[in-house]
Subunit: 172 residues, 2 copies
Amino acid sequence: MSLRHAVLGLLVVQPSTGYELARRFDASLANAWHASHSQIYPELAKLEAAGMVEVVGEGARRSKTWGATDAGRRELRRWMTEAEPVRTQRNETGLRWFLVFLLEPAERQAVLEREWAYISAEARERREFTAQLDASGRGGAFRPVLDLAERMETVMIDWLREQADAAEAERP
Amino acid sequence: MSLRHAVLGLLVVQPSTGYELARRFDASLANAWHASHSQIYPELAKLEAAGMVEVVGEGARRSKTWGATDAGRRELRRWMTEAEPVRTQRNETGLRWFLVFLLEPAERQAVLEREWAYISAEARERREFTAQLDASGRGGAFRPVLDLAERMETVMIDWLREQADAAEAERP
DNA sequence: TAACGCATGTAATACGTTACATGATTCT
DNA sequence: AGAATCATGTAACGTATTACATGCGTTA
């Protein structure tokens, strides 16, 4: 049940409305977790009932800003330090990359080029995001995670380029 | 609906029983997709009804070996070349690594050391698997994917080591 | 004033996990 | 003979997606 801990974690980093959480899932947490608003609002209600989040402000359009309570922080800490990590993943991109070697060279090349373009664009966005964060002085704690993302992207981009070139060379 | 394509893909690589598929999901596909037998058997039944897989052999303990039909291969190819990739991921490990920077240095170090040990062990197993495959001459098409896994593991292991050391240095 | 983006919620359906259930074959 | 592993299936429950529904505030 990681949705709970993802929400709790995002709220510890920064109090947000449910709507903002939905966007933050796709921004900072895009390659770790995803949740849409129809899942977030009920989860916030459950977390409130469990005393782990609370409304810390109300704004325009009857919006509520949520923050984590001490109980919520304790639960998040317990989960990170004591709970057995669940290692099962679901990553359609990884599945495609595994299976792309079943395709003929021409089609394989096309798919690999598309993936290369996608990851390159993602890396570009991430670099902009990092630059913004650094400029605003709020880089802080999450700088290491962005650095990891950069290194992984570099590996993926290089690999996709190599495999696309190899597929091209194989074409009859 | 990627379970369908994961099953189809595994069966194109190698015809298998439902039981074998469950193990192959956790072996070759562990960091891309997971499915347990209670999901696999019904999916095989649906794929058979759709004419995409067929029984290609029966063995001991009333086991059935399934293989992909031409229609199944076509559907897999269509999915890879034409279907819009779904990029949403769910990766609890990634979520933990993102949130670990909320912890105090001592606890953070402990979590990072545990993760380092886990990924190192995973890398060791993958290397053994690769060596076996190479020795049996069946390395072939999937060698590139194993190479990508190796590079990613290297990046993760180095990063975890650096962050664990940094956390240790921060301890009061 | 119309369109767009912010903001919150629920309902129906699909997907995934855990638990239950059974039986065959191999190994000790 | 008993335990372990192979092998297949279903049922109940929990999680996630898609579709439906509504209203506020800003901007063109």
